[in-house]
Amino acid sequence: MPTTLSQSHRPDASPGFREEFAELWRSLPHKGPFFVLLAGWVLLFHFLGNSTLGYVESSSLFQWLDYVYSQSTDDDHGYFIPLVVLGLMWWKRHRLIAVAKRPWWPALLLVAFSLALHLAGFMVQQTRVSVVGFFLGIYGLMGLLWGYRWMANTFFPFFLFAFCVPLATLSEPITFPLRLLVTKITGFISETGLGIAVVCDGTRIYDPAGSFQYEVAAACSGIRSLTATFALALIFAFVLFGTWWKRIVIIASAFPLAVAGNVFRLSMIILAAEIWGQSAGTYVHDNSWLSLLPYLPALGGLFLLSHWMREKDPGEEPRQEPGNLMAGAQQKA
């Protein structure tokens, strides 16, 4: 009578999400103390996280963040970063399961430093400093109970929490030069590439006949596409590449790709205005789908660059399935 194999022993059965999550959960030691510390840390930042009560009358860091994210489209990616980080940590789950975990007391210094950051941010009414302290403190708490190897293996994607710090209102030193640069390049391309005579005056572009006029406002500086492209470049760099110089090239490519994307969109606006008038250009500007134009060159450029520089098997090692092991053994035999 043939033996019926159970699901878990069949060579072609991959473990499901529940089994893998359970395995990851079992691999984490000292869960009780960790979650007690995490709860205490979150409560501290909920009740004494924000000292600027002008814009939002709440001492909660999370309510302050919610208010700031909701006020600016240049910061609202902060809502999604935690999901991205959790997703990437899940992608690394095999490595995180395998890494040795034990308490590491020097991480207490990082927790103390993070707390000091928050105290300073609270006192000087700079809530952004407290945001940094919050995420750094969670990193420290993980290291305290799971060790430096865990910290090394979670550095990416944990550092992506830097994108949760809202910087839109401080980005004038970047957005204004970006606006000028994008205006100049768009003017050049319009004249030499598209054959459209335009005048660039600071951050304004208009045609000499006066049939259209646009201003490259702060919202059109490209800071949003730069942030998104930079975040994606970071993820590509760490997921697809193990070589450091390739990672640097991918990350550095974010700036020119974001500028190229913004120039592309502005050029389409100018072209539409030249052919059909100011209202057509305004339509291209205001349309939700067409406002995704900057991401075409940016994402396309990232994908192309990644393809050209691709490495063989750079990222997470594939899980050794029992079936694979048996097949490998048979081949060797």
């Binding site: 103390p33 002008g54 814009y55 300073a120 000087v124 109970l145």
Partner: protein, 251 residues
């Protein structure tokens, strides 16, 4: 369970507890600084004629040949800024109808009273902002150079005949606290953090601004006129002065 994780957990909890106690009591350790502008007990009103505050920054009624009119504080401003903010707002008009709007915003215990002018300008439809640091000579109580930020901005307005025209705006602003004068946000925030951490004093900053509109091409002439106005106006309500400068006068 081994002892080490328990000890580390307790130590971390003690750290958090100490931080909590410090934060809960830190305001008792802080002193609110003295403003760098005068404050008087006087009512200030919203556009509906309701009292919006019991104190104000006393901008002068008359400066050079300019007469003034008190301006109400808009609801959006009152709702947006902290409740302990003190205001002063007047519209000044010269005999040739040239006008300058002057605003003074003095923070209480919350620095968010002091906001970036770009927000207000953009909300009013003014864009294409370019700014640079300048100084304005103030001669009383002694000659000194007042650091200001000069911002040039434009707005497209609709005409009665349906067409559009462009107007320019000249916006001049600076920040003043007890013993401190600056035109930049960065310096203001750095000084505030420095005094909070090292002296336990929360500097009480005021943000003073002057705004005038003109036709394109007249920005510099407008700024010159505003400079003379500001130089004459400031001594009447600003207590903080800058370091004395020596003027070169004709014999």
């Amino acid at each position: 369970m081994k002892r080490q994780p328990i000890i580390l957990t307790v130590l971390a909890l003690l750290l958090m507890g100490a931080g909590t106690m410090f934060l809960a009591n830190h305001q008792k350790l802080q002193k609110l600084g003295i403003p760098g502008v005068r404050v008087v007990e006087a009512k200030i009103y919203d556009p509906d004629g309701n009292v919006a505050g019991e104190q104000k920054v006393p901008l002068p009624d008359r400066v050079l040949d300019y007469e003034s009119k008190d301006m109400p504080i808009q609801h959006e401003v009152l709702n947006w800024l902290p409740k302990d903010t003190v205001y002063g707002q007047k519209m000044y008009k010269a005999e040739d109808d040239f006008s300058i709007q002057v605003n003074a915003v003095l923070m209480g215990s919350d620095r968010t009273s002091i906001h970036k002018p770009e927000y207000c300008l953009q909300a009013s439809g003014f864009g294409n902002q370019r700014q640079q640091e300048e100084t304005i000579l103030v001669e009383e109580p002694h000659p000194y150079e007042l650091p200001v930020m000069k911002m040039l901005t434009t707005k497209t307005v609709k005409l009665e005949n349906g067409g559009t025209a462009e107007i320019s705006g000249v916006y001049v602003y600076w920040f003043v606290a007890d013993g401190e004068l600056t035109a930049t946000h960065g310096e203001r925030m750095w000084w505030m953090a420095r005094d909070l951490i090292f002296d336990g004093v929360l500097q009480r900053w005021a943000y003073i601004s002057a705004f005038s509109v003109c036709l394109p091409g007249q920005e510099e002439a407008t700024y010159e006129r505003m400079s003379r106005f500001i130089g004459a106006m400031v001594p009447s309500f600003q207590i903080t002065t800058g370091p004395p400068v020596t003027l070169a006068r004709n014999p």
